[in-house]
Each structure stands twice: as structure tokens, then as C-alpha cells.
Symmetry: C2
Subunit: 203 residues, 2 copies
DNA sequence: ACCTGAACACCGTTCAAGT
DNA sequence: ACCTGAACACCGTTCAAGT
């Protein structure tokens, strides 16, 4: 039975994304199925393919929303930080906290692999670039030299990503008995100390 | 037609694992299917379940072999290193090289999530522990203090893991135009500098 | 003892047919 | 214009029946 008046196309897309979010939170990525989503929003499987190209397309849009939430958390964390020196620590700790809170959604965001030959949309990469820009800025007090700061920020972000990746996958416990917050704090502290030492060398 | 004389049970298991390796290398984790594997070794799907409990069990055994290869590479890299100071760099670079060479198998090893409630075998964790022990030893020149060296080694390994995870998933390019070798080198160098600075502080 | 292959309960995706 | 639901081509896994 056609119900085209019940919901606008945009409402339907939101409903599908919310159902997907719930499924991933509850059962992990494997719980996200076209048939399950369709039944969760009260439509037939075919309707999903009217809203999204396919499941991968739906996942990309779900990931966009997750990325937006993550951006918001990081901005809030930065805004509540008084000293510039504490900015990097605040960002890292907000990032790790978000990962632990939303293990499955975070995993979908950063570990979902598109089928070969399919590219991530450009806005996706731009948003990640914006996040990295924030971290780069936060590293300014520790690494004044413009030229190499970008690479340093990116290396640090990759490192924190590794801690989060292991934590989200439940594998951090095979590495250490410390939690993600502690490990990332050590990584950050030692890295920042290293940046300062390098900076001294340039004086 | 039963062919119980053609191959021993152990041979069959090896054949299945080799077919799985080939499938993962060529098509990624999604290419690893019970039906495909069975046909690749010339047996029916049911036979696979005589050799392994299920696909997850097969994957765990495939990962064990991958881990063994990785261990070998790291030991070789260490053996060819003259100075203790260069050991950590040699290990990191061998680790990254292996990841880039075997992106898909590496991804299966470190990013395959077992269904909830299922644990990794203990020998799995012991082997990872051994690798971490090697890295910990390599950090000795940079971080003489026994107590916190273990955590430092683990934090560094998580960091390098992050670079590898992004590189293996094809996502490092959205972060930086540098390759995994360059990023991990920066991460290592800054981290080691940070360790030395911390050590000086303790004198 | 080992192996088969049909069977069961699922998938993602498409598309003619309906409203 | 939108939605359905059957259909197609796949899955993982089990298990009675064969050798």
C-alpha cells in the first residue's frame, strides 16, 4: 500500500538513518541490513533503494552525521579550554571519549571499507581536513614551525586513531591493561614533549 | 564422491587456509566465502565444517599464520640491525612494510571483529604480547626507566597501528599526502625524542 | 570416518505491477 | 510519483543420506 503522503522523502531518509544508527549500536555493522531497516521504518525493502543508491550510500550518509556529531564534540571541548597549551589534550580526550561512547558508529565511520573502485565523497575528506586543521592549530604552542606542523598533527592524529581503533574493536585489552584514555594520554604527552625538544633544537 | 584418501585432514586444512589467503588478497574479506573456499579446494561446503567450526574459526587460524609471518619479519629486521638505537626504527619500518604488502591480510588480522561473546584464543594474545615485548626491549636505550617502559612501548605500538590501519583501509590519503612510511617515521622520531626528554627530566 | 548436496534461514538488489 | 513484493543470485550452516 502506497503511503506517499505519510512522510516526505527527507523524513524517510532520516527515519532510515535513525533505524540504521539503532541497529549498528545494538548489533554492530552486521546488524545493518536492508530488509531489517525497511521493516523498522514500516516500508518494503524496495523503498530503501528509492531513498539511497544502496547500503554503502546509506552508510556514507550515516557516517556524515556521525562525523558532524564528532566535530561538535571537539569544538565544544576546545571552547571550554582556557589555555592554548591544553587544547590538544582537550581534543584528544574528547575524541577518545566519543569513540568509547559510540564504539560501533565510530568503527563504521573510520573502518568501513567501500567496495574497490568507489571513492569517498569530497565533502567527507574536507570535513576530516577541518578536524585535522583544528588539531594542527592546537599544536602551535608546541611546534611553532609552520612547515612541518601539518605533518606532525597528522602523525599524532593517526596515533590517537590507532588507540581508538583498538579500543573500539575490543582489542586494546590484548595490548595493555590500561584504558584508551590512559594510553592516548601517554602517547600525547610523549609526543608533545618530543615536539618541544625538536623545537628547542631549531633555536 | 568421498575422497578421504586424497588428502589428510591437515592437508585439507592447509589447502583451505591457502585458498582463503588467496581470496582475501584478491577480493578483500568479503571474498572469503564458505562456498567459494569449498569449490576452490574441490570439496563441498559441508566439508569445510568438518575442518573448522565455522568461518570465524577459519579466520582465526588464517590470522595465526599471518601473525607468524609478521613475527618472522620483525625478527629478521631486528637481526639485521647493528645498533640498539636503530632497533625501534627497524621494527616500525618492517611492520609498516608488511602492512603495505599484505593490506588485506593485515586488516583481517587486526580489524576482524569476532561475534559478541566470542573470545580470542589465549595463544593469540600471547603472540601479540611477545611482539610488544620486542618493541619494549627496543625502547630501552630511549627510556631506561623500567616501570613505565611497557606502557610507552604499547602507546607507540597503538600509534603505529593507527597509521597502518588508515593505510590498509586506503584512508591515509584523506589525512595526508605522505605515505605510511613517512608518517610512521615522524610519529616514531617525535615519540623517541619525547621519551629522551622525559628521561632527562628524571636525572 | 568422511563427504555430499539438498535444505533452511537468511542476505542485497531489481523491477514489473499496482495505486 | 511512489511503493510493493516477488524474483534473482547470492550467503553461512546443518544434517540425513550415501560411500
Amino acid at each position: 500500500m502506497a503511503r506517499r503522503t505519510d512522510h516526505t522523502r527527507e523524513e524517510l531518509r532520516e527515519m532510515a538513518l535513525e533505524a540504521a544508527r539503532r541497529a549498528v549500536r545494538r548489533e554492530g555493522p552486521a546488524g545493518l541490513t536492508a530488509r531489517g531497516l525497511a521493516s523498522a521504518i514500516g516500508y518494503s525493502p524496495g523503498t530503501l533503494y528509492n531513498l539511497f543508491a544502496d547500503l554503502d550510500d546509506l552508510i556514507v550518509h550515516l557516517n556524515a552525521a556521525t562525523l558532524e556529531t564528532l566535530e561538535g564534540r571537539l569544538k565544544t571541548a576546545l571552547a571550554q579550554t582556557a589555555s592554548p597549551e591544553a587544547s590538544a589534550a582537550a581534543m584528544v580526550s574528547a575524541y577518545v571519549a566519543f569513540t568509547l561512547e559510540e564504539k560501533a558508529l565510530w568503527g563504521l565511520l573510520f573502518e568501513h571499507r567501500l567496495p574497490p573502485g568507489r571513492e569517498l565523497p569530497t565533502w567527507y575528506q574536507q570535513r576530516i581536513g577541518a578536524l585535522l586543521g583544528m588539531l594542527e592549530e592546537a599544536l602551535r604552542p608546541f611546534h611553532p614551525e609552520e612547515a612541518s606542523r601539518a605533518l606532525a598533527a597528522r602523525a599524532l592524529w593517526c596515533g590517537v586513531h590507532g588507540v581508538c581503533s583498538l579500543a573500539a574493536g575490543g582489542k586494546l585489552a590484548s595490548v595493555t591493561d590500561q584504558g584508551a584514555a590512559e594510553v592516548s594520554e601517554v602517547l600525547l604527552k610523549v609526543f608533545l614533549a618530543g615536539l618541544e625538544k625538536t623545537a628547542e633544537g631549531h633555536h
